[in-house]
Amino acid sequence: MSSTQNQDTVTSHQARRADVVVIGAGLAGLTAARELVAAGRSVTVLEARARVGGRLLNHRLGDGQVTEIGGQFVGPTQDHILALAKEVGVATYRAAVPGENVYVRNGRARRFSGHLLPDPLALPEMGIALARIGQAAAKVDPAAPWRAPNARELDGMTYETWLRKAGITGAAVDLVNVFLNSAYGGEARDASALFSLWYVSTFGDETHPGTMERGTGTTGGAQDSRFVGGSQLVAQRLAEELDGRVQLNAPVRRVSQDSTGVTVVSDAGDWRAGRVIVAVPPLVASRIVWDPLLPAQQDQLFQRLPFGTLMKCVAVYDRPFWRAEGLSGMGLLRGGSPIREMFDNTPPDGGPGVLMGFLGGREWRKWAHRSAAERRGAVLRCFAQVVGERAFDTVDYVEQDWTAEQWTQGGPTAVAAPGVLTDFGQWMGRPHHRVHWAGAEFSPYWNGYMDGAVRSGQHTATELLHQI
């Protein structure tokens, strides 16, 4: 300890000072910083990347148009992100495009409207699955899943095992996996049953218990709306408001604390602060050098909360040609298909046509290492099954592989395997002396979502302000 203290005394001479240093300029970090500034604190936000927004990223289409290659959808009960966006002047619009959706099974495409899949064999089973998931998730407290009845038993098996034990087999498991492919960047077999039921219990707020329908739904659900100008604009506006307090290109390498404060060592120099908020993904946080070390349980927890494997694949066309054919561009593709879920991601005022598909989980694992041309071909063949062969006539094609991002390491969020929540879950948000935690993964509602990130940023700022 003494050598560290010496080092801190030396660095603290050159270190810049702030009441609070926030590490990470994603939604959670920026929201926390905004609250602290409003409360009159001096704040610096240190961001590793050359941009703000973290898992929110706009891709420029030209002519001022953008499409998102990170998080994009918001919906009812996500009141924290919706209110924040409004405050910084970012409007929303309905995501769903009029027209029929397409369901692809065994290479055969069928159009359908609304929520009813054109699959008479899978439908009843899916109904039973939703009912069982709903009943079980209702027993899980979003703030303390480890206290659920049978928590240890549920945490001792994968979600797939639980689904099968609940009498849910082939088709419904595959349909649950269509959702998890993008929601986890994984599958039911990757996650603990307790984690998965808890995850469903977070699809709501203090007055609306979470439901699977709200999580998977388009209109009226989590995929209800999008942001005009792209979701990253919310983060950019927050950063503008912070007026010079965000330091880009400042990856934090080391955090040392003693009885008088915290020294944060970054590539852009050192800062000395009374308190620190760490708002980076849990696994990424475990790779910072901690002095003193994190409590071992907390460090183990963070190491056990890796993100899934997820890539967004985006094809751009001169216009959204499928709309004229009565198609919404939304497609659900059953097992064996590289893309399992796709959407029309055309900017709100028309412009170039954009189709976006998720390449996630097992499909990512199969395709990520293939040549770019072969992977693009496979993605476009999926798109063609949904909107026809004109899907091959792209003017641009873009992929964003979140696993290749050093400061995110996967996507969209953390997925816990069996044993993690019951053995380590309680260590999640516990402050480590002067260090506090924030991020989408720390929220009891909409965990892993933008709303969770904003909630967590606000919660942590409040927690910290009570202590100083």
């Binding site: 064996g336 770019a372 041309a373 693009r376 071909g377 496979a378 063949r381 063609a384 091959f392 792209t394």
Partner: protein, 161 residues
Amino acid sequence: MNRFFVAETAVIDAPVERVWDVISRTDRYAEWVAGAIEVTDHHGLATVGRTYAERNRTLGPLKTDSIWTVQEIEPLKRRVDTGTGFAPLQDLTNTFEFRPVQSADGREATEMLYQVEYTIGLGPLGLLLDAIQQPAMRAGMRTSMANLNTLLRSEASRTAH
């Protein structure tokens, strides 16, 4: 023993070099061969004497595991493989042949011959069995070649890297 020959031809809308590149990849059969659910073992670029394995759909919901051995390679022209695992079909020989042709609008295209040769024991019952399975096999071969055409088109899309 009844020996059967089933052949289908199609024109693939791509130069023979590109067709050859794809059909030579033993890891890629599940991407275009109808009924090949998954390639479970492969040796990359087809090499004479080496094997690859597939999980295949047969009649209805039935699945089977097949093992193929590459027998002959005549670059850009001909590929012959023999396979096992499709009982009651035996001594399966799969042949692809390619010939450069021109499409109506003058582009380079490829005529593909897809031929499967096999025996079914069981005497007259074998003939009956074949009458049941052959139409599905032909349809599968045509679908495979249509899939190959689509695969090549998707990889030749305008924004190809």
